[in-house]
Amino acid sequence: MSESKEVILELRDVTSAYGNIEALKGISLKVHKGEIVSIIGANGAGKSTTLMTICNIVPTVKGDIFYQGERINALGSEVLPTMGLCQVPEGRRIFPRLTVTENLEMGAFFRKDQAGIKDDMERAFEFFPKLRERRRQLGGTLSGGEQQMLAIGRAIMSRPKVLLLDEPSMGLAPLIVQQIFKIIEEINSQGVTVLLVEQNANLALQASHRGYVLETGSVVMEDDASALLSNSDIRKAYLGE
């Protein structure tokens, strides 16, 4: 279903490093418009680093990153959200001493249209009614699940075209994880492209169209999600069989 669509985000042979320690060793991947693509892999495979490199928090050493046909390697991290590329990082990173409402407002920091921001805040509260109850509470006092909801809510406040999600299931109860994945699919159905990084490969692949498998900083496999799910090697390595 995705072959014919245009490529919205592309990494070409990207290498990046923390100081002298190479974290990504030449990664290439493509995300088409409207897809959910997941990146799976073990701890330390470079999944989170991939997202951080796309957002230029970790600098690219070699290779090119294209977003909507434009090379974005050298753009400042703070410019990308204004172009519709938005990340929910690992560990959620809620602003602990801002209230829930303020956290959401920060998601729309660069936007000037007050009315639109208000609408989007309503939309976020509709997605996550729990947040409405807690809107005056400080972000740091929320439970893990609520924080994840807030992080996603904050991200959609920027009206992203591409949403990068890092480990949305981390540390959450299975029921809440189910709920969050449902919402991710719903956001996707409203036209937001999603690049998902997950430890929980089963869940991630079930929700996505295509998947990439990362091992120690390199892509070792890429295929349709259903194909990966039925691949015996993958099942052995990542799905616990």
């Binding site: 928090i57 204004t82 920060m106 920091f109």
Partner: protein, 300 residues
């Protein structure tokens, strides 16, 4: 009793000044975890720029109130520019270095600015046109000078403006967000460099206002005047819980009060000793200050 009330008035005045300086320390610390040793110099530069501008304006025949208002505004703007320049040159390139390197850089800037002031303005005290604000109210034996009223009013106004800015506006929220998590605030589109620059500007502006008020209060300014109020304001910021804006205000008031009351009732030679002993005692029982949260656990 009269004596007590008089000391109370003096304590509030001095405390307000300390609070203004302490805010700069606490805001800068909150956002980049730096003890900005050059902050006391912004205060001194404010004191000088105030007397320069106000003397000029009054020589042009402007009315005293207008002189002070305009002088205050221009001086705050000047010190804001100065602070932004210092930040750009001495701190920004060291964002990713160890904190001690930045601390040393700040120390170097402090020495540099202090001597720059000395070279351009001379080593002698510069007198303030205190006749502008001479006089005061007498309540029995308690004297409240017009200057003290000015100081308290201006301080209160500045503190209220700052609170509104930090807690109500979009920029203020971005400042707090940047202080809490720089990576995440970049990911939502906040340009942290601009916010940090702004923080320096605001802090220095407040210190500059304090400089002018101290100039009027004591009647003169000196190139080395930044140091002692600087460390006391820093102590006030820590006392209140460094990084916490309300804490800095409370801490400033406490340090000012302790100093005045210790000088009045115990010993004027040892007044600073008491201020530091209070600080140490409070930190001994509450290691993160009065209002500080236990969030900063980073080491040298």
């Amino acid at each position: 009793m009269d004596y007590f009330l008089q000391q109370l008035v003096n304590g509030i005045t001095l405390g307000g000044v300390y609070a203004l300086i302490a805010l700069g320390y606490t805001m800068v610390y909150g956002i980049i975890q730096l003890i900005n040793f050059a902050h006391g110099e912004f205060f001194a530069a404010g004191g000088y720029m105030g007397v320069i501008i106000i003397s000029y304006l009054s020589a042009q025949g402007m009315s005293p109130v207008l002189c002070i208002a305009l002088g205050l505004g221009l001086t705050m703007g000047y010190c804001a520019l100065l602070a932004m320049a210092v930040e750009k040159v001495a701190y920004k390139p060291l964002r990713s270095s160890s904190r001690l390197s930045v601390l040393l850089s700040a120390l170097g800037m402090s020495i540099f600015l202090q001597n720059g002031l000395m070279l351009t303005q001379g080593v002698y005290d510069k007198a303030y046109p205190t006749e502008m604000t001479a006089g005061g109210f007498h309540f029995g034996n308690v004297v409240v000078s017009y200057m003290q009223i000015y100081i308290v009013l201006i301080t209160a106004a500045l503190l209220i403006c700052l609170n509104l800015l930090v807690f109500k506006t979009r920029i203020g929220k971005a400042m707090r967000a940047t202080a809490q998590d720089k990576v995440m605030s970049a990911l939502v589109g906040i340009n942290s460099n601009k916010i940090i620059s702004l923080t320096f500007a605001i802090g220095a502006g407040l210190a500059a206002a304090a400089g002018i008020m101290v100039g009027f209060y004591y009647g003169s300014v000196n190139y080395s005047m930044g140091f002692v109020p600087g460390i006391k304001a820093f102590a006030a910021a820590v006392l209140g819980g460094i990084g916490n804006i309300t804490g800095a205000m409370v801490g400033g008031l406490i340090i000012g009060m302790v100093e005045i009351f210790a000088a009045g009732y115990l010993s004027s030679e040892y007044k600073d000793v008491f201020a530091f002993i209070i600080l140490i005692a409070v930190l001994y029982f509450r290691p993160t200050g009065i209002m500080g949260e236990n969030v900063d656990d980073t080491r040298v």
